[in-house]
Point group: D2
């Protein structure tokens, strides 16, 4: 059955209420910018720019109806005032100190006024293993050595946090560094072998998997902001489905890739052929330092290279997109700090094969782009859970470089298809009709047979 | 009624058959690149890259169905072999000479092999008036002085062409220069006053209106590739509707604006605020020379400036998009010839108001981007006429900087909404379901209440 | 006689001592950044980056001598501690308020700590005439209406300032806006007609000329940071010579033109042909607003367009540089404030005529680049006066877009020739040898006839 | 003694006459573009754009003298008609086939008309060793296996070529690929150990050294266009001096580094501090493929990174230039072929430390920029030899990324100092005065004590 009708009835959504605990794995630039921002917004000292859940609207009905309420007004999301933040980090700095070191936010305007609240966010000891993140080293690390013990320790952290803050519901977001590349293996194939591998302290089980596993066992939705495998293995996908917990990932789509997945659809829409796409990135933050490790870059490169394929569909258009030299480079370049810069060069051709070029220079801020994604994901995952939507939340593909999808489906990377999917899903959830942009009814007099 | 269902039954489409005459107003760089390209493609000497009608596919059914036929295989379009070309131009050069002067196509590879066919396209004398296109001057001009006589002369040209080439159907495409800016006036309000103004040789009736009027009177669909008013006045819109003739316009969306309407939706999708967008263009062809006249630029500027508004919806998002410094400049710069170059700088801000920048440098080829649009428009207008779809063809907005829409509707400028509209319209025309990208059915097991 | 020997004996330089009054015409972004910076540097709170007089060195002797003292250590310049600042401005804001409005310097770090000193710089009423600077309007304006009375009022200001602050010597620097374009006319040809024109309130005498005239009559050196004629007329040049007062101008070379005069010499050095150079600028400060007036832009455009000619020498190289499409545009674009941005595209060709392109994107800060030039010019003009060097100081061409030179000479625009001229002039002034970079002596054994 | 006087008498220059044999090591894109160009220029079919020796002028005397003859008119250079070309290459393609494969020159316009001449340039078998250039493999390789035998074979090639073409004089230019990085070692310290190492087939003796050694033994001047050590070792430098043969190198300064050494002096001239310089390159030719080998890139990176140091003098200016993050990347990117593209980002700061950025995008053509350098070097090396100037020719630094200089001297990388050095050396050679740009004599009346 085609997608234009809605094959499933709209879900029943339990109302939000009580506190929503938001647990960040990693309390670095992204997490502190997220947490500080929410605090400032609550006080009316700043705007939640970049957050669809806070600022966005949803067109309902016909173009001429003029009905475009704010999403937050028609979808039952948790209120910002109900969020409570916690975090793990291998560095012992509290959110205030960490934010200062990150240098993302203006200390005078955006940290001092909320220093007390930020200081209160003390990182729990991390389940950290330098074999998986080689360029970092921290002292705020759990003493447990076995993977099983670490899972249990994380579960206890979750329970303790929930109790301490009186949380009604929780979500967990991976805001940490990229781990070294791991290939999916039989160890991840089902829960039984996964569990056995934990007991064996198997190398194929990375720390991020321990966090995800603990979250699922505790019924806490999990979003993965890094390109690591983490929750994207059959064992954990099945557990999420069977235990009714929503999950999503991988790798926040913020800088260059966000632009790439906005521009690539243009070439495709216009059927312009592509010969090469060269992308280079310079960044000077902790993320850049970690990615200077070729093994960590391998995860990231994989995540960044894949996006063109499903947008351009080389199988469908071998002449246009069958042979693209797609190169992605990341360079650690300290002068910029958190201010990432991308430069893209695209070689394409048009009518009769004539070559043209497009170049994009993106001067962005890594954490400023990522923070509102954390907020949206926290609220939408919680929404999904209250709506009884378990397992992979493909409608949140919009936020990820390498979206998780159901087995057998290809991921949608086109930012605009992702946006349509997200908004039409929200419409479906609240019982509104799908938007197709057909709009022939506006021209009914012209289109109907004149002799009627 | 919302757009997701299809409020009108699919039309009956008469089969194509016989010759389709394609009349270009203007036989300069765009028209000759279009005509030469079709000839080369017919012979298998080049590919119709950039043409959705020739290369594009239409996904039908579910994502997992794997059903994506070529548009040309499921929509009854005229065949390339059935096209016959004619043109008017104030310069007497035939298509071969004009193409050489334009310098767009490689003479050795792409003009010599088809020299004979190109030489056969001799421009008919133009209804030209230097008061409306000031930087040009031509000698291949109709002797008639009154506007009424010019309309009649154009009609005779159409009839003669049809007879001479045995055309079954015709379309007319404005490929000429931009006229000086004209504001809509009472003269254009209805057919009666329009007709009276022609008899009065009123200044508000420009040559392009005479072509459009003649086309409609002859039952020939009309597409306007320039930003001039032309067929976008109530009198002619009504005539098109009442006489069953499809029309569309205005201003081919090729270079910088194509990119702008691909990128602006990204900022909007991610709810990033915008402070300014500065666009500058350098180009060295005849178009650049004409636009060096401030009055001609006024038309173009209007067309180029408008696109951000309906994409960003400042009324809906006054905080994000209420005050944008949008500057567009075009500079005549001969070194580039037809190779247009655009440079855009975008100042935007994210989370908590932090500023960022994005810059785009587009090294494109004006006529190479425009030529496939001419082809698509010729074929789709002919299709619409055979489907009984009269008047404004909003679904062809995809091709225009300043799309014509029904009174009371705002135009869609977002390239991706335009693409969705175009493709869903084609689906509707052939009786296929709309695509909404909802796709909840793939996750039915996870989303259905667990206790069922 | 060629320039390699020094045809004039080195001058005797009177030692600096006592206060040096620095009078700025205009107390906007440039002047306040200059004044605040000097105050911060005096206190050791910031570095005089960008100031040759403070940071630069002078290589003396052979490359192998290792003798490169700081300029300030071998050339008798006034000390920063001896500078006293005054200014005229049509707006009544003191330097503290004006600097805050300009938004160039960080208020917390760079204005608050010296607020008291900045508040003390109160602008004297300006000799302002809105006919010459159309986009501005101020209330802090001298009541005198006749040009003669204005000259006298400015002279009184100078005398009063000198007396009040006990200045030993003074310099005046035009830091104000660009006036509308004036062509040199017979009125400016000699002092007699100039004087008569002042008495007649002739339109050809602009306010900036009144300041310059007053300065010269008071024996105060004058530097012109704007492109207006001002002191670049025979009457005032002669007066400067005959009264022993150094002068220099025109138009601070800071942003795009600084880069242009650094890059154009590369093409020339390598004998690469040039087809076009397109430069566009966006800026959002008061300067940008003033230049939005086409008449003011005319002055600036003239100043900006001229630089390529003497660098590329089209007379000497007609094939390479005889036909260049050189386009310069400036656009007022508020989002940037004082942060000017330039984008340049250069079309050039090499071996056998093959075309290439170079593009430069300059994200600079107008006043940050101009402020150290003010400091250098103040100190070097004072030095010249103490060295008995009257009239045009061509060796300060380094600082100007449109350098004043002796009648009959072409100006040097090449930044590196200007630098060589400046540094070799300093060497000459202190009795050191000229640097030619010949350096054959290092290879004497290889070069001398082997049979010696 | 300072450099401003000329410490050595001008040399006596033997007149050119007879044929000059030009032997290229490598017959790829650069060499064929060079050879084809000279042939086209001889026939008046193209211009020697980019060649100082052919197009450049030399200002003689005062600025007001108007004396700027062409270099070729005052310096006794060999005539283009007297050049005869030979080459070695591991691929057996003649110059015609190789040029076609390189794709640099337009086949129709620039190869066909001289096909016969190009076919006549058949590559001699190369002294090739895949251990030193890993990504290439060729079949046109000398059968000799020992390094000694290879030296002798090259010498025989030289002698045979000279005899066959009746050359009066010869020069050799390395136009081949970059070899893997070699560090200078004791083996290269003097001729004795160098000779012994050849006999031992020592790894520290690369093929390029064999060519250079053979050239010197035959009295043939040698220029090194690649960054490999080659002739830049004490043993060969001494041999060049003692046998009266001029040498120069290393690494043609063409694309990004040419721009870098033109722009870096601007920051230095204006005393602007530098924080970082990020350079990335994309190129798709054989050179790009070779540099994809990290060992080959090591040589190139070393050559490219060094240039900033002597321009910016961090020892002299530790605050401004003591800590620069200088990153250089090269990426093999086939879509561009020989059309290299560079993107540079420079982070710098000015007055009081405020940060600014400059970005350069260079769309160049590798071989088009290199070919005229080959011509100039051939002619200038021959000139030097006729002038009795043996050993290192530092005045040719202008052409190299990593100029060879006398032991104890730092190299000059500033393109403008290099240009001054080159031109003042030519002036010295023909007995003309040095240019210093002092020019105080034009202002003698103003500068001389007024009371004289």
């Amino acid at each position: 059955m085609p997608e234009s009708s809605t094959p499933l009835p709209a879900p029943t959504i339990a109302p939000p209420g009580g506190k929503l605990g938001v647990l960040c794995v990693g309390l670095g630039a992204v997490a502190t910018t997220f947490i500080a921002g929410v605090e400032l917004i609550r006080r009316g000292m700043a705007e939640p720019v970049g957050s669809l859940s806070q600022v966005g609207t949803l067109r309902l009905g016909k173009r001429t109806d003029g009905r475009s309420p704010k999403i937050a007004d028609v979808v039952p999301l948790a209120a910002l005032d109900d969020l409570v933040f916690g975090a793990w980090d291998p560095f012992p700095d509290d959110a205030y100190v960490s934010a200062q070191k990150a240098g993302v936010l203006d200390a005078g305007r955006h940290l001092e006024p909320i220093a007390e609240q930020l200081r209160a966010v003390q990182p729990m000891a991390a389940a950290f293993d330098a074999n998986y993140v080689r360029r970092l080293d921290g002292e705020n690390v759990k003493p447990e050595r076995s993977k099983r013990a670490l899972v249990e320790a994380i579960r206890e952290d979750i329970q303790a946090f929930q109790e301490q803050h009186g949380c009604d519901r929780m979500v967990m977001i991976w805001c940490g560094s990229t781990e070294v590349h791991l290939d999916p293996s039989p160890v991840h194939a089902d829960l039984e072998s996964f569990d056995a591998a934990i007991d064996d302290d198997h190398d194929a089980i990375s720390p991020s998997m321990l966090y995800a596993y603990a979250a699922l066992l505790e019924g806490v939705p999990f979003a993965n902001g890094a390109p690591s495998l983490t929750v994207d293995v059959p064992a954990l996908r099945d557990l999420a489905s069977s235990s009714g917990v929503p999950i999503c990932g991988k790798d926040f789509k913020t800088g260059q890739t966000m632009v790439k997945t906005s521009l690539a659809p243009m070439f495709k829409a216009r059927m312009l052929g592509m010969d090469g796409w060269y992308s280079t990135n310079i960044l000077g933050n902790r993320d850049g330092e970690v990615l200077d490790d070729p093994e960590a870059f391998k995860s990231k490169e994989h995540s960044k290279l894949g996006v063109l394929d499903t947008i351009l569909q080389p199988d469908l258009y071998p002449d246009l997109y069958g042979e693209i030299d797609h190169v992605v480079r990341i360079n650690y370049y300290p002068p910029r700090g958190d201010n990432k810069e991308g430069w893209d060069n695209i070689d394409f051709h048009g009518w009769l094969g004539y070559p043209m070029q497009l170049k994009v220079n993106f001067l962005c801020r890594d954490s400023i782009l990522a923070a509102p994604l954390c907020l949206d994901l926290a609220l939408f995952l919680d929404l999904a859970q209250r709506a009884g939507m378990a397992g992979i939340q493909e409608w949140l593909s919009f936020y990820f470089k390498s979206p998780q999808v159901a087995p057998g489906l290809y991921p949608e990377h086109d930012l605009y298809i992702q946006q349509t999917k997200l908004k039409n899903t929200l419409r479906w959830m609240i019982g509104e009709s799908q938007i197709t942009h057909l709009g022939v009814e506006y021209y009914a007099d012209d289109y109907l047979p004149q002799d009627d």
